[in-house]
Symmetry: D2
Subunit: 336 residues, 4 copies
Amino acid sequence: MRKARHPAGWWTVMMGAAAGAALVCAARWATGDSQAASSSPIGEKFWPSEFGADDQRGAANRITPATVVSAARLIQTGQVYQLGRVYEYGMPLPGKRHFSLTIPGLPTGLPSGSNQMVSNDELFSGEIGQVGTQFDGLGHVGARINGEDYFYNGNKLSEFGDPYGLKKLGVENAGVFFTRGILLDVCALRGDDRLPAGYVISPDELTSCLERARLTIREGDVVLIRTGHGKLWMQDNEAFGAGEPGIGLAAAKFLTDHKVALIGADTWAIEAVPHERADLSYPVHQWDLTKNGVYHLENLDLEQLGADGVHEFCFVFSPLRLKGATGSPGNPIAIR
Amino acid sequence: MRKARHPAGWWTVMMGAAAGAALVCAARWATGDSQAASSSPIGEKFWPSEFGADDQRGAANRITPATVVSAARLIQTGQVYQLGRVYEYGMPLPGKRHFSLTIPGLPTGLPSGSNQMVSNDELFSGEIGQVGTQFDGLGHVGARINGEDYFYNGNKLSEFGDPYGLKKLGVENAGVFFTRGILLDVCALRGDDRLPAGYVISPDELTSCLERARLTIREGDVVLIRTGHGKLWMQDNEAFGAGEPGIGLAAAKFLTDHKVALIGADTWAIEAVPHERADLSYPVHQWDLTKNGVYHLENLDLEQLGADGVHEFCFVFSPLRLKGATGSPGNPIAIR
Amino acid sequence: MRKARHPAGWWTVMMGAAAGAALVCAARWATGDSQAASSSPIGEKFWPSEFGADDQRGAANRITPATVVSAARLIQTGQVYQLGRVYEYGMPLPGKRHFSLTIPGLPTGLPSGSNQMVSNDELFSGEIGQVGTQFDGLGHVGARINGEDYFYNGNKLSEFGDPYGLKKLGVENAGVFFTRGILLDVCALRGDDRLPAGYVISPDELTSCLERARLTIREGDVVLIRTGHGKLWMQDNEAFGAGEPGIGLAAAKFLTDHKVALIGADTWAIEAVPHERADLSYPVHQWDLTKNGVYHLENLDLEQLGADGVHEFCFVFSPLRLKGATGSPGNPIAIR
Amino acid sequence: MRKARHPAGWWTVMMGAAAGAALVCAARWATGDSQAASSSPIGEKFWPSEFGADDQRGAANRITPATVVSAARLIQTGQVYQLGRVYEYGMPLPGKRHFSLTIPGLPTGLPSGSNQMVSNDELFSGEIGQVGTQFDGLGHVGARINGEDYFYNGNKLSEFGDPYGLKKLGVENAGVFFTRGILLDVCALRGDDRLPAGYVISPDELTSCLERARLTIREGDVVLIRTGHGKLWMQDNEAFGAGEPGIGLAAAKFLTDHKVALIGADTWAIEAVPHERADLSYPVHQWDLTKNGVYHLENLDLEQLGADGVHEFCFVFSPLRLKGATGSPGNPIAIR
């Protein structure tokens, strides 16, 4: 009966046509919307940000030169883990998003010169920051309150929205994540092959993972949560997208209280789907991105880190500077 | 009269319709093509690669765990330089390439839940690995020899080409560039505001830059060449694309002899355009990518590195793992 | 001083960043917008449509089987005029719209079978219903009134808008235009090579054109207006897009009073740009599409019709049934 | 065991990776390809075309002004049938083709003027001439013979191919199809709900359909074949794409002998899939398009024509003038 009680996954919400979602949705842009976000975990006035009323970078501000130096010191063996998945035809895609990559011509460029140079390009079409391994920027998720769509730091979509790229909170503002990364292997903690969809990871479990790794979270850290759900990627895409284990609001608060810069996972939404509370839709996204300016990094490949038992590492991710974009693709790395 | 003698820029060649280029071009896929690449700088048989006959990574193999550890040691102050440009409407685009970024809906995702979550996506269309700051992979440039298009390690396009992504040499094979970076500031060396288009940088000039910086190139290094041409970006796009200063074959050989992994510049083609020899078309691309497996990184922003006089740094670039793509966008970083 | 007084062209308005436009623009989606459309030519309550409160087809309803039969009777010589322009690289594009057409692979499909079949596809990316020869559907233009965006028949964008295609007023509802076409050659009437940008065509001029052609408009007719501006297409794209001659509100009312189904022209907006009144933005679009459900067909090639002095003909246009699209490309035809 | 013997459908061949197809495929562009198209139905020298050695229009030349006048005379009741399907998310797509339609912004254009005009555009990405209802132009299908890809009239892809649109045989050359249409309702003839996949329609069946309708084919006619397979569209997309009934080479020759201009059907390939002969891949495409210059129109909706028993009508289709494209989308119509 779970399906009846819980909102459908990101997959469905993104299509904007979920029957279940409709039950709890106010009409879009309805100006007289009296359904205030009174039950919202982030409240009606969640700004200004602790990073300043004009800030557009959020928790990326926590990464200082000292953080960078400290993270670099973690590099002892020079082993690099690529955490980004291959972007390819047939990968899981939520809702109506698409991915197309083609090579015009083969070769694209005619032979020229006596050296007969030829060349190939590639054409990409798709929701570039929201397919495959993806980084959620601060323009990605907000909350409708009294008919306005509010995003990080109280920015109103009616003011910073633009069909050709957001005028504020674009991913080009995020900067570079060069900091310490911590793997919290909840999957290993529980001894499961993978945590089931809807499994809500608790703060206690995060604490246990930290204790096992003999680590404490420091300001500016990147925390990556391994659930094992990533094993389904390209193996059972339907199951991958139908739901997922993840943190709930309690664990999200635990992490933001510890002042992390970014939370990543081997899932498509970081948070448990179906959600803990059926009436809330992606509350962790709102808590992290909208209220706290803490970024998400989704669809990571954490299997090798987990297999090697690597819990502390130098983490590097440099989002594409796509002007006004809500997210970025990427191939984040862990180095130890 | 320069225009008559020299092949037009990348801008034009990519359009496949350059009148000048046509003079020296054999018909495309002409099977009876007797115009062998005899005058080619890379010769008719440039394989197997020194990295093995099956290798698809080229000079990225030069980056070992020891390289990584060594590069990390260069991080002393924690200052991060973003070398990638902002991808935006109106940036210089060669030939018929395009760039489009839009936000479907605003918001894209309907308010859902009692917390009234809303969300935005972005749609991208364009030659993703060949616009803006771009990384040239080993499937990007080849040579037609006796009617076949040969790429790195002797791979024939007729065998690895695929309209939906190359079956070999795709950028997903490149891996991560975490290594030492060296800035060779030829612009500063010459005391110019920017080097003029067509200026051919010599090996001696590279040597002088190294001496001034008291550095020698080591295997696996990334070398970034500052010409000042990047100052034209978004300031005078027409001049930016009409030509550029850069290395010629002699300097390219100097760099590949020193076993670099990647060559970057603040230009769109690394090499001088118009070219040193009018009969050769992008010979440095062929020399580096096709023969030596050495990567290119174009349209970098090197102004701040230059202004700060930073010549040695930890360089990090992690290409998108776009399956079968010829290149990747990116935001490479330098850290000191 | 014209530029200061008049709103910039469609080209600019579409970019959403026209400095001039900003002066008279309320903030987007501003819910407390007190700047009612009091001066709007269509008023604050322009619905229900004469075609019924649930109608989504507008003036296309005027084309009945009798209209079709009657139009077919106009075909006497069998001469067909293609009124659609070629969609090609380098054609005029307003604002940030783009057009990309590529052939993946060449060939796209591998040789197969002992008959060695090969095949090509083409990939298109662009604002398909709003580039080149284009048909404006009823979801294209509306009016913001008290914070709501109202379209034809009082439909609110907040209710029928959807990021993946409009839920109402999509071009798939328009049906087929098989009816009588009338060419009103205002350019010939005035004896000009082409009418200048900003020239406002009057009802009297339309009447004179009709008299010269010894025609009267009948319900369901398609009226095509030749201004000569189309001569600039692909000859001087900058001038083509900078402004245009066209009808003003008076002539638009003349045509809707005569119950036409569609108005076409050899311009990009049918109406004069700069506009007759500097304070109104594309008022003819609102009058025709939003209030009266009368369609527009832009960027037509009317030169041959004009040269041959063809004023009455069978007109056929069958929009692509793109679900939820605001417009359609096309190659409308005139047959006599 | 059918699957083992027969080549997979268009769906698969288009992906260029069909295991079955590989068995009979020569390497792509293999210049030394000794596997001549000796068993090809079109032979090794199928040109020049009967329409002249330089012709690019093929059988569209058969439509003369007299044809147009004659077709117009068939319009007696004014009833219009739309034969084009709705282009929508979720429609059947072969291989790796995609379809994406989005509305940037909602609205795309900011309110401007005191009349507060707003506007919407739509963005399309996809293989525009090869998804949904589609018209196959003469650049779509060819034959590899001795290492060259030959298309209609002996044009070599190595000479007219271009990554940004074919330099010859582009769909912009086809012109307008305004001619008599004939429905051959083989499904009704056989009294089936729909013909099964792989069913090969014979010339005798076409003759029987003509006799039942008391019609004979005339030069320049458009022949539409109803199989009932179209009932599966958007009802069972998997079955729709897995195979289809259609004509074989014998019926194709029957139609080209009768000098038709275009053949349409309610299927995705006109011809039977699996094919009659397992060793030939889409031989009817080659016969019609490559050798005879006779066009195809696929994925038509012929149900209403069939239900109404309409066998003779005025047929109108005006392809988009997409420069260098291999096909066109459309909404062809039948009028009686």
